[in-house]
C-alpha cells in the first residue's frame, strides 16, 4: 500500500504538476458563497464571541477588557456547575439508552415481523414533534394531579408515587424520558437501514456455523455496523449539547435550578440578565467542551484510517 502511494507521488512530481487550487474551477467558484458563509458566520462569529468573552460587555458589546473575570465568575456560579453536571448526566444516560433502545427496536423490526411499516411509523412519529411539543406533552403526562400518577392511583394502586418533575433529585430523569421517547425512533430507523445493508449471506454463514441469533448480532452484526453507530452517535451527541427547548418547555429549569442546562444559562445571561460578557464566556466553555470531545474522536476516526 505504502509503496504504491510513493510511486504515484513520484510520478506526479515528474510530470508538470497542475496547481491544485485551479483544478475544476467551476466547482470552486460555486462553493465560494458557502466558504464565505462558513468563514464569516461560523468562524468569524466564534472568534468575535470568544474575544468579547474577555470583556465586561453588558447590554451592548464593548471592548473593555476584564481578563478572565467572566470565567472566574462563571466557575464560581452554582447554577453553572449544576448545569454542567445535569448535562453530563443527561448526556451519558441519553447516549447509552437511545443507542440501546434504538438498536433493540431495529433488531426486533428486522426479524421480518408482520405490520413492520406500521410499527416503524409509530416509533418514528415522536421525532416529527418539536422539542417544545414533546416537553409540554410530557409535562402533562408527568403531572401528578392529571397524568400518569393519578391514572395509576385511579386503577387502585393508591400508594403509587411517580412525580419526577417536582422532585429536584430525579427531575433530570423526567427530562430523559421525554428526550428518549422523542429521539429513539430516528436512531431505530438509521439502525434498521444499517441492518438491511448487511448481506443475507452473513446470516446464512452464521446459521451454518451454528451461532445463535443474539450472539450473531453482538459478535458479527454490530461490529459490521460501525459506520451506522458513528452516524447515530454524532446525531445523538449534537442533540445533547444543544439541549434547551425541551427543558424550557418541560420544567423551565425547575424545581429551583435543579434542571438547568448550559444553553439555558447562556441565553438567560445574554438577554434576561443583559450581561453579554457572561453569556459569551459560558458559550465559549460549551465550545471548549465540544472540542475536547471532538478532537480525540476525529483523530481516532480519520487519523487512524490512513495508517490502517
Amino acid at each position: 500500500m505504502a509503496v504504491v502511494e510513493d510511486g504515484t507521488l513520484n510520478s506526479a512530481k515528474g510530470a508538470k504538476r497542475p496547481i491544485r487550487l485551479f483544478r475544476n474551477p467551476m466547482a470552486k467558484i460555486a462553493s465560494i458563497p458557502m466558504i464565505l458563509t462558513a468563514m464569516v458566520v461560523f468562524v468569524g462569529g466564534t472568534v468575535w464571541t470568544i474575544v468579547h468573552s474577555f470583556t465586561g460587555s453588558r447590554l451592548l458589546p464593548k471592548l473593555n477588557w476584564v481578563g478572565f473575570d467572566q470565567y472566574e465568575r462563571l466557575w464560581d456560579t452554582p447554577r453553572w456547575l449544576i448545569s454542567i453536571s445535569n448535562l453530563a448526566l443527561y448526556g451519558i444516560c441519553s447516549l447509552i439508552l437511545t443507542l440501546t433502545i434504538g438498536f433493540i427496536l431495529a433488531a426486533l423490526l428486522d426479524r421480518k415481523i408482520r405490520f413492520e411499516s406500521a410499527f416503524r411509523t409509530i416509533f418514528l412519529y415522536p421525532f416529527a414533534l418539536s422539542f417544545v411539543v414533546t416537553g409540554l406533552a410530557w409535562q402533562w403526562i408527568l403531572n401528578p394531579d392529571f397524568g400518569l400518577q393519578s391514572l395509576v392511583q385511579g386503577w387502585g394502586w393508591e400508594s403509587f408515587q411517580f412525580d419526577p418533575l417536582n422532585n429536584p433529585d430525579i427531575v433530570m430523569f423526567g427530562l430523559l424520558i421525554a428526550g428518549i421517547w422523542q429521539g429513539s425512533g430516528l436512531i431505530m430507523c438509521i439502525m434498521l437501514a444499517g441492518l438491511r445493508g448487511i448481506d443475507e449471506d452473513i446470516w446464512k454463514a452464521a446459521r451454518v456455523d451454528g451461532i445463535g441469533t443474539v450472539k450473531t448480532y453482538v459478535r458479527i452484526i454490530i461490529p459490521m455496523m460501525r459506520p451506522v453507530f458513528i452516524t447515530s452517535l454524532v446525531l445523538i451527541a449534537s442533540g445533547i449539547i444543544k439541549l434547551y427547548d425541551l427543558v424550557v418547555a418541560q420544567t423551565n429549569g425547575g424545581p429551583g435550578i435543579s434542571s438547568e442546562v448550559p444553553a439555558k444559562y447562556v441565553i438567560n445571561y445574554m438577554f434576561q440578565a443583559q450581561n453579554l460578557g457572561q453569556g459569551f464566556a459560558a458559550s465559549t466553555m460549551m465550545l471548549c467542551s465540544v472540542i475536547i470531545i471532538l478532537i480525540p474522536w476525529a483523530y481516532l476516526e480519520f487519523g487512524g484510517r490512513k495508517n490502517a
Partner: protein, 408 residues
C-alpha cells in the same frame, strides 16, 4: 370565514386612518385581559387626539418581550414608543443615545411637581435629562389571605405576617397549604424582598439594596430575614404550581391560606368575582411595615430622524401622564397612578390602602431601580435554589452577601 372578513375590515380601517395622521407603533407586553383593557385606554385617548395608535403587543412576559424590543432598537428598526419597567433596563440604550430626550416636555408639563413619588422621575433621569414617562406604580409587598381557608381551619384571618406564621399549623391540620408559591425565581425573589422589608425594616434594606453594603447583608438583621424566609419555605413546601396566577388561584379557591404577590394579584380576585374584606384580605407591607416599593411601567421613546414622528412622540409622552388618561388607565390596570393630584375615588379597598400609603410617603424605590438586571438574575437564581431545596439559611445569606458585594 367570519374571522377573515373581520380581519379584512380591521385592516381596511387601519389603512384608511393611517393616511391622515401620524402613526406611532407602540410595543408593550400587556396581553392579559385586564392589561389589554388598560392599554386600550391609552389607544383611545391617542386616537381621539387625531393620531393613530398601532398596537405592537408582544405575547409572553417582560422577559420575552424585552429582548425583542431592545434588539429592534439596536437593529435600527425603532418603534414609536415602548413600554419598559422603569429602572435600569434601558440605561445603556440611553447612554448610547438611542432614546429621545423628553426634558422639554417634562419641563412644560411640570412633571417634577406632579410625579409622586419623585423617585419615579429620578429613575427616568440620566445626567439631569429625562428619558421616559412613568405611567403607573406597581408594588410587590402584599400578602393576600383567603377567608375561606381560614374559615375551614377555624382561625381568625391574621392581620400581619407573624400572626400568619403562627396560624400555619392549624391550616396544615385542616389540609390547607399555608403559603401558595409559584416555583419561579422571580416570585421567590419577590417573596424574599417583601419579607426583607417587613422583617429587617427599611434602613437595612436601603443600606443593602441601594448602597450595596455587604456588611449589613451579613449582619443580624439579614440573618433574621433569611430565617423568616426559611420558615416561609417550609410553609410553601406543598405548593408545586408554576405561574403566579395559579398560586393566586389556590388562594381564591381556599386551597392555600395566603400568597405573597404584587398588587397585580388584585386583578385575579376581581375576575373571580371576589370581594375585598369578605372573600379575601390584603396586607400591604405584610401588615408589619406599611411601606411599598414603587416599581412599575414607563414608556420610552426611541430616537428617530423624522421630525414629524419626534413631535408625535413628545405629544404622546405628554398625553400618557395627563390626569384623565392616568385615571382611566390605572382603574383598568389595578395599579396606582403616578400623580398625587388626581381623584381615584372609584378604586377599591386594596387600592385605597395603597394610595393612602403613597400619600403618607411610605415608599421605597423598587429592586429594578436599584439593582442591575445582571444582579437581579443572580439573586433570582439563588432564591430559586434556596426555595426548592434544603439550603441552610446561613449559606444563603453568605451567598447573597457575596452577590451584593459584587453588584455594580
Amino acid at each position: 370565514m367570519k374571522l377573515t372578513t373581520k380581519l379584512l375590515a380591521a385592516t381596511a380601517i387601519v389603512s384608511a386612518s393611517a393616511a391622515s395622521a401620524v402613526e406611532l407603533e407602540v410595543t408593550h407586553w400587556w396581553t392579559s385581559g385586564g392589561e389589554a383593557a388598560a392599554v386600550a385606554k391609552f389607544a383611545e385617548a391617542w386616537n381621539a387626539a387625531g393620531n393613530t395608535w398601532v398596537d405592537g403587543a408582544i405575547a409572553g412576559s417582560g422577559g420575552t418581550a424585552r429582548p425583542i424590543i431592545i434588539s429592534r432598537i439596536l437593529g435600527g428598526d425603532p418603534m414609536g414608543a415602548t413600554q419598559l419597567n422603569h429602572g435600569r433596563q434601558a440605561e445603556e440604550l440611553i447612554e448610547a443615545g438611542m432614546m429621545l430626550d423628553l426634558t422639554d416636555v417634562a419641563e412644560a408639563g411640570g412633571w417634577a411637581d406632579i410625579v409622586n413619588p419623585s423617585s419615579l422621575l429620578d429613575s427616568c433621569t440620566l445626567d439631569g435629562r429625562i428619558y421616559c414617562v412613568p405611567v403607573n406604580i406597581h408594588s410587590a409587598q402584599w400578602l393576600w389571605l383567603s377567608h375561606e381557608a381560614y374559615e375551614k381551619a377555624g382561625q381568625p384571618v391574621p392581620s400581619d405576617w407573624n400572626e400568619f406564621v403562627a396560624s400555619a399549623p392549624a391550616l396544615t391540620e385542616a389540609g390547607i397549604v399555608p403559603l401558595a408559591m409559584g416555583q419561579q425565581g422571580w416570585q421567590q425573589n419577590l417573596a424574599f424582598g417583601a419579607i426583607t422589608i417587613a422583617v429587617a425594616g427599611t434602613d437595612a434594606w436601603r443600606e443593602v439594596t441601594l448602597n450595596k453594603n455587604a456588611d449589613v447583608a451579613r449582619g443580624p438583621e439579614y440573618t433574621a430575614v433569611f430565617e423568616a424566609v426559611a420558615d416561609a419555605r417550609e410553609l410553601a413546601r406543598e405548593s408545586n404550581v408554576q405561574d403566579w396566577n395559579q398560586a393566586t388561584n389556590m388562594v381564591i379557591t381556599g386551597m392555600a391560606g395566603a400568597q405573597l404577590m404584587g398588587d397585580w394579584a388584585q386583578g385575579e380576585f376581581s375576575v373571580a368575582g371576589q370581594v375585598e374584606g369578605e372573600d379575601y384580605s390584603c396586607l400591604p407591607g405584610l401588615g408589619l411595615n406599611e411601606i411599598l416599593d414603587t416599581g412599575g411601567d414607563a414608556f420610552y421613546f426611541p430616537a428617530n430622524d423624522d421630525p414629524e414622528i419626534t413631535a408625535a412622540q413628545k405629544e404622546l409622552a405628554a398625553l400618557l401622564i395627563s390626569p384623565e388618561v392616568q385615571v382611566s388607565f390605572n382603574l383598568a390596570k389595578g395599579s396606582l397612578p403616578v400623580r398625587g393630584d388626581i381623584d381615584m375615588a372609584a378604586a377599591n379597598g386594596c387600592m385605597q390602602k395603597g394610595l393612602g400609603i403613597l400619600a403618607d410617603g411610605g415608599v421605597l424605590p423598587s429592586g429594578d431601580q436599584a439593582l442591575s438586571a445582571d444582579t437581579q438574575t443572580q439573586i433570582e437564581d439563588l432564591m430559586a435554589e434556596f426555595w426548592s431545596g434544603d439550603m441552610p439559611a446561613a449559606d444563603a445569606q453568605a451567598r447573597y452577601a457575596d452577590l451584593i458585594a459584587a453588584a455594580d
